[in-house]
């Protein structure tokens, strides 16, 4: 596993530009929501002192006033959020196809190659996402069975503490399902680009199989990046208050830089994970080929020499 992580570093270095792409997409699309929101708030606040008070942290009075006096606000915000969410998903489909293409061929970034692959695999990746969404829904439905299990053990009227722990168990189960589906998506994508598979349900099935078949590698790898992400968040969580409550333009600027650095590092992790997964996939599939090949070699002596 450590090899995949190390080699992913080398691949990532060859493709620094990719990180910038992911980062820029996240920043620009989020700005689409935040800019109108900001001007909405700005107009609401006018030249009031409430506006100045915002500098010293969350102002509950402002939230109350804004919520109450801007009834049309959610009607605008929700569709805007949906739009940005869908756009972000689509852009990531294009990027991930290009990224996987580059990584599979161990290439440095090349514009025509990256965008070419990105465009040609877009629909297939979208279908993978939809099939995976179906898989996720099925798994989520399975979590209802946890309720039946609880009922089996504790009846219709479980004690409050039992309901409480089962609720957490359900949440944990759902997170596990989500993690599994995310891995399935990743390996289904890699499989699709490598084999040029056209039937996406097969790619998803392959992804499901691959993750489980190579459980001892796929899961620790994903866990490693998950833990890195959590550590990163912990650092941000403890570092940001140092500046978050300071006032003045410089404080705002530094806070912005800290936050965006955090997002940037998340993107580094994201690209690294993809590189590691590609390496792992290549490695595992090569071994499989070798095994098959080796079997063939073994088979040869069985063939009678006279033939």
């Amino acid at each position: 596993m450590i090899d995949y992580i190390k080699q992913a570093g080398t691949i990532r270095c060859k493709n620094k530009r990719l990180i910038l792409f992911y980062f820029a997409a996240s920043l620009l699309l989020s700005l689409i929501v935040v800019m109108p929101l900001r001007s909405f708030m700005s107009r609401f606040l006018g030249s009031s002192l409430m506006r100045s008070r915002l500098e010293s942290g969350i102002d509950v009075d402002f939230l109350i006033e804004f919520w109450f006096h801007s009834p049309g606000f959610t009607a605008v915000l929700v569709p805007l959020l949906l739009l940005v969410f869908v756009s972000y998903l689509c852009i990531n489909l294009v990027f991930s196809a290009g990224t996987i293409g580059l990584f599979l061929q161990d290439k440095a970034y090349e514009s025509s190659f990256f965008w070419g692959i990105g465009g040609s695999y877009f629909w297939r990746f979208l279908r993978i996402t939809l099939w995976s969404a179906l898989l996720f829904i099925i798994l989520m439905a399975l979590s209802v069975l946890l309720g039946n299990l609880r009922q089996y053990f504790h009846g219709d009227d479980p004690l409050a503490n039992i309901s409480f722990y089962w609720r957490w168990a359900r949440i944990a189960f759902r997170f596990l399902c989500f993690g599994y589906v995310m891995m399935v998506i990743d390996y289904a994508r890699i499989f699709t680009v490598q084999t040029d598979e056209k039937r996406m349900y097969r790619a998803v099935l392959h992804g499901m199989y691959f993750v489980l078949r190579n459980f001892s590698r796929t899961v620790p790898l994903a866990l490693f990046y998950l833990i890195c992400g959590l550590l990163l968040f912990a650092i941000y969580y403890y570092a940001s208050p140092l500046i978050a409550y300071r006032t003045g333009f410089l404080a705002v600027l530094i806070l912005f830089l800290i936050q965006q650095s955090f997002i940037f590092l998340r993107m580094v992790l994201k690209v690294s994970l993809m590189a590691s997964e590609v390496l792992l996939y290549k490695d595992c599939s090569e071994r499989l080929m070798q095994k098959k090949y080796a079997k063939n070699i073994e088979l040869r002596p069985v063939v009678p020499p006279s033939l």
Partner: protein, 657 residues
Amino acid sequence: MIIRNGFILQFFLYLAIATLSAQPVIFENPLSPRIANYDIDVELDTSNRMLHGRETLTWFNKTDTPVQDLHFHLYLNAFRNSQSTFMIESGGRHRSNLIDKDGWGYIDIDSITIDGSDVSEYIEFLQPDTDHPHDKTVCRIPLFHILKPGQSVNIEIEFTAKLPTPPFARTGAKAEYFFAGQWFPKIGVFENGVWNCHQFHVNTEFYADFGVYDVRINVPAGNIVGATGLEVEIIENENGTATHVYHAEDVHDFAWTTSPNFVEFRGREQDVDIRVLMQSDMAYQGERHLEAAKFSVRYFQDWYGDYPFPNLTVVDPRRGAFGSGGMEYPTLITAGTIYGLPAGVYLPELVILHEFGHNYWYHLLASNEFEEAWLDEGINSYTEAKIMDHIFNDAGAINMGAVQLSNKQFHRLRYLFFADYDPMLKHGWKYYSGSSYGANSYSRPAVILLTLDNYLGADVMRNAMQEYVKEWSFKHPKTNDFINVISRVAGQDLNWYFDQILYSNATLDYSVASIYSREVKKNRGVDFDDLEENATSDSLEVKEIKQYESGIGVRRLGEFIFPVEIELTFADGEKIREKWDGKDLWKRYKYVRESKLISATVDPEQKILIDMNFSNNSRTLSSKDHGLKKVAIRMLFWLQSFLEMPELLIFPFSLSR
């Protein structure tokens, strides 16, 4: 003398039982007129959630009008069928609880005798408030002898009742847990020559006369019982049941609960014995509940006056029985909490403080909650906000790191949404909606009284509340009685304030509509230019000091009039305070100074909580925008993070399903 010491009290009680003398005495001198006195035997049939009761009521006509009939509440009939007033008004839903499809509850009078003669066949159901012919929550029984002023009557009633399940609108049963509220035939209030006995509505609570209650509750042996008043004795019966004997004085209602699964916590605060009955699975929060009950007793006694009763029982409703949570009865209240509740979400604290507060406004003062709910719930919400925000440093609702919400803000938010649907004073069932009833009975009076508290000063207001408690306990005060006490203590007639709230839906909104500050230019033109020339040629050079003309315009955008302060801040740090009576629609202020005006704020300390919009209360000429930038980059960051982690949605989604 009021016997308050627990030991002495117990001694007296034991003495009373041991000698089989008359009933025990809690108060040597009655605190109340003791008009409606009940002696009840009730037997609980747990498997059918039935109550079999025999009630002897001794009722005194302490008015100066003869009485020809008696009116009774049969509250449990609210849950009898879909055609009761309660069910029609609620659609079968109360505080987000639904009644089970087979969970109906009811109460039937099996027989009734008045001074020995059977009048069962003369029972007549009345619907004094609405046109709901099937409602059976009020009945009338004729008297064959007119009851003259000063006379009393003995009424014996045998009744059968079924508790709804799960507990619905405060009362009912769930598995082994029973909470009996509004469970017995209860006489109305005879006042001003008529019976005040309303149907049970979805949005109303209760009104009753004070009296003495002796109640014997028969439940399975081993069950723990909590009830209004004091437990005098437990008699173990041979049939596997136990009879819990309770005695209460100067109370106007009696509720009880039983379950084998209660875990008891006991404590004492000042002169009050506190008993907390927790469900076994929630027992880990027992100390938290006990602490909340203790500070409730402490603050209310210190701030608002004496709680004359020797004890308080706090009941934690069973899981699946929250319909019986958050309710007040004399000396018995129900709380409500959630397993795993964070310490910074003050739900049990808030509920216990609120319900204990009712033991002043609902119990001691005992106003008519059908007709003037705000006198109970509203004053109680005000005192709750005062105490919670005081104890928890202005975060008396939620205090979870960056997320802080004061009780004051909570009530103001609720008030904003329904500020102008109704005048505050209405009969409970006549508001536009349940939400309007809620806002006008709880949060609107809370912010109205908090605003008044800021206007008069906290000390004046506290003195006034103490006076109100002292003067009106056990006397069923009305809205005007409250206003008169506050006015008297404050030394000013406050009807101008209350009239705008009680009888109108006027809202208040002050705003700084304009602000400017400009350098004063010399006068020019015909007449002035000549003067100028002369002045410069004749006089020696005088160093000119710049002068600025500054001004603001403030507007009153609502109809509600309330005096307000305006603060103006100048560049040299000087602050000027102006007072505006708010009677006109607008007012301009103008200044000529050596320093520029920076900002102006109406109501700078946010004392006027009824102001519908705080964001227009100020204007500044030197606006710094770092705050909004900070908010914007934060939103940007959280949105970017969310786009990368949509799985966070699993949390809210998993809370319910």
